[in-house]
Each structure stands twice: as C-alpha cells, then as structure tokens.
C-alpha cells in the first residue's frame, strides 16, 4: 500500500496547505532508520477538514507534527498559504507558526498544571497579541465563551479543577485565540467519554463554521473521522492507502486496509452480524524494516507477487476518490492516468 504518487492532488493554487512527498525518518542507531512517514502527499483547501486515520504507529501523528515543522521533515515540501515551510529559517517559521496551531490528545497533560486557565489561554497573546492586558483578556474571554467555558469563573482556576472535556475546551480556546488559519487536531477526543466526545465534536464543527477554520483531524476511530471530515486519508505504516471524499470512502472502500478498518468498527446494532471470522490477527510490521512493495501486503489476502515487487501508486476511482493498491476492491482507472502534472515518485525509498 502504501502508495506514493500525487494523482489525488488538486491544482497548486487552490490549496491552503499542500504537502508533497513528505518523509520523516528517525535514526535509531546502528545505521537503522524508523521510516515513520514515507512520501505522503495531500492538500487541503480553505475551510475543509481532512481526516487522517490509521492504526497506532502508522505515522499519522508524525505527519501532523511535521506539518508545523516539529520536527522538520527529512524530505518533502509543506506549503502553507504560498510559503514553503521546509525552507524557512527558525525566525520566519516562528512567525508562521501562529497560522497553524495544534490541539493534542491528552487535554490534562497539555495544560500547564501550575498556571491558571486565564494565563494558559492568554499566553499566545503575550507574544503575539495586543500589548494592553485588558484587550488581551477581552479576546481570551470571548474565546473561552465560544468554547463553552465560563470565562469569569475559569480565569483564576487551575486545570485540575476541570474535567477532561473542559480541559480540552480550554486547549481549543488556546489554539484558536490567535485566529490561526489551520488547526491540527491530534486525536482530540480519544481520551474522552462518548458523551463528552460528542460535545467536543459538535463544538469543533460550530467553531469551524464560526471562524472559517481549516482542520487536519487525526484519529484512529473511523466513525469519528467520518463525522467531522470532508475528505479522509487512510494511512498505513507511513504510507497513504486511500484518499477520498468521506461519504464515498465509507460507501465504497477501495483499499483492503480500509475495508479491514471498517469491518473492525463496533456497530451499535445487535441485529448486524459481526464479522467475527475476520482472519486478520496481524500486527503492524516494523517501520525500521518495512515490507517491500506494498507495505500492507503482509496482512492482505489479495497480495501476490506484484505487491511484493512494486509499490502501488495513487490511482483514480472517481473524481474525489483515489487508492494506492494493485488489487483494489472497486474498479479504478489505470495507473497511467495522472490528473496532476506534479512529479510522480516511482516506488518507495524504503527497501
């Protein structure tokens, strides 16, 4: 799987964020390298939400962090609003970071326990906001109100006095207070109860409408991702398997891995026969020495010699649906049909 290729990208001018052939590798000693992300390409237009989904270890969080150059990717391009972030020096990057903010998974540990909430949310203001403290507080309090936290009672309270859901609201307020163009949400609801999860998902949708946010939403739960995303990218072991408009992805999954993920979802309806005979007992192979060709082939029942030798590239299923698979579950156009004129990288860099 795991495909390379940029067939799914839209013309360069349209996108707020454009990521091409993003590669992140971590050296782990003895000349070994963890191939965390290997040649991912995607783009997001303004006001769109892209869901990144996959199992733990598939590189989705690393991708999210590499977008804001934390750490800087090993190779590839990240273009945000016309400027290429990978080529920027530290100071220009520091200025540009105000345009891309992040929300993390664990709401409690992402807030400083020894700082009052008013201070936590105002911190970005101290660096970038108006000098006047009252003007700062006005912006902070309106943001807290927008996320459903009472600003006056929360101002002097500490994070431990709030529940997980409220801490996540506060993190969201902190991320939004500088009015960024891009929000990267790294599993923002995984640590929350279903009822609180629903509140936060609704809140993110409201804020998106209110502030015209563009979001990258990283999660391992396909149902959550479908609910919030306009488009979804399915990742496996550092590669992208499938990229699609979200309703279509769930209606017509083209990649065997997407199908596996969907079959694994618990369905809150006892009338539906569970796929208890799904034979997959596989584990993610090591990203230090990923399988050759398609990286999913070790767990795929459709895999054959082609999958061992050749890495699949992105192929078009329909206008908004692309898959990187030699034996997809639905009909696709031939690999030669490339929408984007952008360079196609044949094969992966990994062995």
């Amino acid at each position: 799987m795991a495909g390379s290729g940029t067939a799914h990208l839209r013309p360069a001018g349209d996108a707020l964020l454009r990521v091409e052939d993003l590669t992140v590798e971590f050296p782990v000693g003895r000349n070994r390298v963890v191939h965390a992300v290997s040649g991912i390409s995607f783009d997001i237009v303004k006001g769109e939400t892209l869901g990144l989904v996959g199992e733990s270890g598939c590189g989705k969080s690393t991708t999210g962090r590499a977008l804001i150059q934390l750490p800087r990717p090993t190779a590839g391009q990240v273009t945000l609003g016309g400027s290429d972030l990978t080529g920027l020096d530290e100071e220009s990057m520091r200025i540009l970071r105000t345009k891309a903010q992040m929300i993390f998974q664990d709401p409690i540990s992402s807030l400083n326990p020894r700082r009052a909430v008013g201070e936590v949310v105002a911190e970005p203001m101290h660096v970038w906001g108006p000098a006047d403290k009252n003007a700062q507080w006005e912006m902070v309090s309106s943001m807290l109100e927008a996320v459903g936290v009472d600003p006056d009672s929360a101002r002097y309270k500490y994070p431990h006095e709030f529940s997980g859901g409220q801490c996540q609201r506060i993190s969201i307020a902190r991320a939004l207070v500088l009015e960024p163009e891009l929000i990267i949400c790294d599993e923002p609801v995984s640590a929350l109860d279903v009822s609180v999860q629903a509140q936060i998902l609704n809140l993110l949708e409201d804020l998106k409408a209110q502030y015209g946010l563009t979001m990258v939403f990283i999660a391992h739960d396909l149902a959550v991702v479908k609910n919030i995303s306009d488009r979804v990218a399915v990742m496996y072991l550092g590669k992208m398997c499938e990229y699609s408009e979200s309703d279509d992805l769930y209606a017509n999954p083209a990649h065997p891995y997407t199908q596996l993920l969907l079959d694994s979802l618990p369905i809150p309806d006892p009338g539906i026969q569970l796929q208890t005979d799904v034979t997959d007992d596989g584990e993610l192979p090591s990203p230090i020495n990923p399988p050759s060709g398609c990286r999913f082939r070790t767990r795929c029942d459709r895999a054959d010699d082609v999958c061992v030798q050749l890495e699949p590239t992105m192929r078009r299923v329909s206008d908004d649906h692309f898959v990187a698979c030699h034996h997809p579950l639905v009909a696709v156009e031939e690999a030669s049909v490339q929408i984007s004129p952008a360079s196609v990288i044949p094969g992966g860099e990994s062995a």
Binding site: D247, L265, D280, D281
Partner: protein
C-alpha cells in the same frame, strides 16, 4: 433477567452498595445494584466514566481493598456469600473461580519480569504445577490466545510486545485456571480498532470454549451490541436499564440509554451529522440530586423526576427493566420534551439542534 430459566445463575448480586468514605461524606460509587451472571452468557455493563461500572466489577471480585470502602448487600457465588470476606479468603477464588482482565495491559503486567514467568508463576500457585509442567501449560495458553511463536514469546518482557499482544497475555493469565466468571473491565479501551476487534473476538471464543460467565464493562455501547446476551446501563451508581441485548436496542426505554447511543458517531450517517451530545456532567456522587439522578441532564424531565426517585420496573418484553418516570417513546416523554423546549431547557434545546452542549449546566453558551 434469565433468558434460560432452567440454568442456575453462577453469580447473584443483590442490592450491592459500595460507598467510599471521604472527608466530604460518602461517595456512593455503587448504590443498590442487583444482577446475575449465567454460565455461558455475557452481561455488558455500560456507562460513562464515574458511573460506577468499574467499582461494581471490583466490588463483586472483592478487589476494593481501600480502607475507606464500605460494602453492603450480597454477592452470592455458588450459594456462598462473598461480601464481608477478607482478601485472604477471597484469594482462593481469584484466578481459579473468578478472574479479571484489566483496561491497561501495560500496567497490569510487571514490566521487569518476562511474560512467561508471570504466566507460570500464576499457574504454579493455583495449580501446583512443577516448573516444566507450568512452562508447557504456559506455552499452550499463549498459543490458545493466538500469540504467534508462543514458545519464543514466553521469554520476552512486556515492553517487547505490542498493546494487543500484551492484552492477549493478560487474557491468557486470566484464563489459566479456567475460572467460572470472567470480568473484563474495558479490555479494549487502550487498543486500536482493529486490535479491539481481535481481542473481543478472542474473549468471545474463549468464553464459549470455557463456558464461562462473562461481564464485559465498557463505555462504548457499540462494543457490547453484538457481543452480549444482556446489557445493564449504569448511571450514578445505579442500574437504570437492563434488558436482553436485542430488546434493549429495539425498545430502548431510558433516556440515558438513548442519549448514550445517540452520542456515538455512526458511519451509516452522512458526514457532518450533528451528534446529540448529553448536556452537563455526571452528578456528584456524594450529594446526588434528589429524585432521578439523570433528571438534570434529561431532555424529558418533568417536575416529578426531580422529586421522586424512579424504581426499576418491568417493561413489555421479558427481562427488560428500566427506572424512569418518562420513558422514551411514551406520551409523557413527548409532552415533557415539548414543554422543556418551550421553557428553553438546554438539554432539550441541544437535542432539538440549538445551542452548544456545555458541561457547565444549566447554562448554554449560544453559538
């Protein structure tokens, strides 16, 4: 509550209460729960964090060893009363008669002991096996929970395994002495969706093979839907609805059960479907609200709900019980919902699609 009346329940819990005494008062974590477990059947226990589901499982097993826990009521296992027994007496039952699989497979294994030794130690204590026998039993157990290369994996440390593999080891450990009752406390919450599916399938097949009674505790009503015979929904330390699984989903009566189900995003709905979140937070268990404890968050609440606590009552189909004055689908609920909307009650407005559900009830921060 028994779907097969001929079968004697293996475990009967009656009016079980666990209160934790703290300076501010008694935290009523489990407050009058009655249920029974049948051999070969699975009971799902569902609720939010803090609803008392984990404490319930731990209380039944006698694992609440905190000094401030006060347990009353009755837990009868094979006719013998378990409440009031000391840990020393309970130890004879742990592992051999009842066992538990915990949420976090990393913290429930000893990180500095090889998994084989942890498994064998357990087998040796309970079955009195020799070292060599224990090793072969251990390898077989690892094999039975589908750990590849069981023989080699016997000598690895927990950190060398993935979360899913560690949870398999925990399941193997729990099953080592063929217990009659297995408690699985959020066994898949820390795991990926594909691994969750594998682990739940494994638990199901082991339960059938060993003909055990199983109690599956989870916050995800989707997890229990296809894998249980009966479901108990807990809220604020009490069971608010209990029914055979299909009856629960087909004739849902309690507003909390409905709210739990509706707050889950579903892949069958189009993208950007608005979720009906539950307004507010679970109540303070030291001073729970008077009347129905869900009333402050309930879109169908009437004045009566705030005054009089509803008792479990039988619903239409057999074995279906719920505790509510305005059950879902009743004319009373419809009337109350309309009244609440016209009064501008936040929880009703949120269901109707207006306003943001906030945890700070009763205020709604208008969007």
């Amino acid at each position: 509550m028994t779907s097969d009346a001929a079968d004697q329940p293996v475990l009967v819990v009656e009016d079980l209460r666990t209160h934790f005494l703290v300076p501010a008062g008694a935290v009523k974590a489990v407050d009058g729960v009655s249920l029974s477990l049948q051999r070969g059947k699975t009971l799902g226990v569902v609720g939010e964090s803090g609803s008392g589901k984990t404490v319930l499982a731990r209380t039944i097993m006698g694992l609440n060893i905190a000094g401030n826990a006060v347990t009353t009521g009755s837990v009868k296992y094979g006719g013998k009363e378990l409440v009031g027994r000391s840990s020393k007496e309970m130890k004879q039952l742990w592992g051999t008669e009842m066992a538990m699989v915990f949420q976090d497979p990393m913290t429930s294994l000893n990180p500095v002991v090889k998994i084989g030794r942890q498994l064998v130690e357990h087998v040796r204590v309970h079955l009195g096996a020799s070292k060599a026998e224990a090793r072969s039993i251990g390898t077989e157990l690892l094999h039975s929970v589908k750990i590849p290369d069981a023989d080699e994996r016997f000598d690895v440390y927990p950190h060398e395994m993935s979360g899913g593999m560690r949870q398999r080891v925990c399941i193997a450990m729990a099953l080592a002495c063929s217990p009659d009752v297995l408690f699985a406390d959020e066994p898949t919450t820390a795991l990926d969706v594909t691994v969750q599916h594998q682990i739940l399938n494994l638990l199901g097949s082991q339960q059938r093979n060993h003909n055990m009674a199983m109690m599956l505790v989870t916050h995800d009503i989707g997890v229990v839907a296809g894998r249980t015979d009966e479901i108990a929904v807990m809220y604020a330390g009490k069971i608010v609805e209990k029914a055979p699984t299909s009856a629960l989903f087909n004739e849902m009566r309690h507003p909390y059960t409905e709210a739990l189900l509706n707050s889950i995003p579903q892949t069958t709905k189009p993208k950007h479907t608005r979720l009906s979140a539950i307004t507010g937070r679970p109540p303070d268990l030291i001073n729970p609200p008077s009347g129905c404890s869900f009333a402050p968050r309930c879109p169908y609440a009437r004045p009566k709900c705030h005054e009089e606590e509803p008792q479990l009552q039988a619903a239409g189909s057999s074995g279906h019980e719920f505790a509510c004055h305005t059950p879902v689908g009743s004319p009373a609920a419809k009337e109350a919902f309309e009244a609440n909307i016209s009064e501008g009650l936040p929880q009703a407005l949120v269901i109707a699609g207006h306003g943001i559900a906030s945890e700070d009830d009763p205020t709604v921060w208008a969007s």
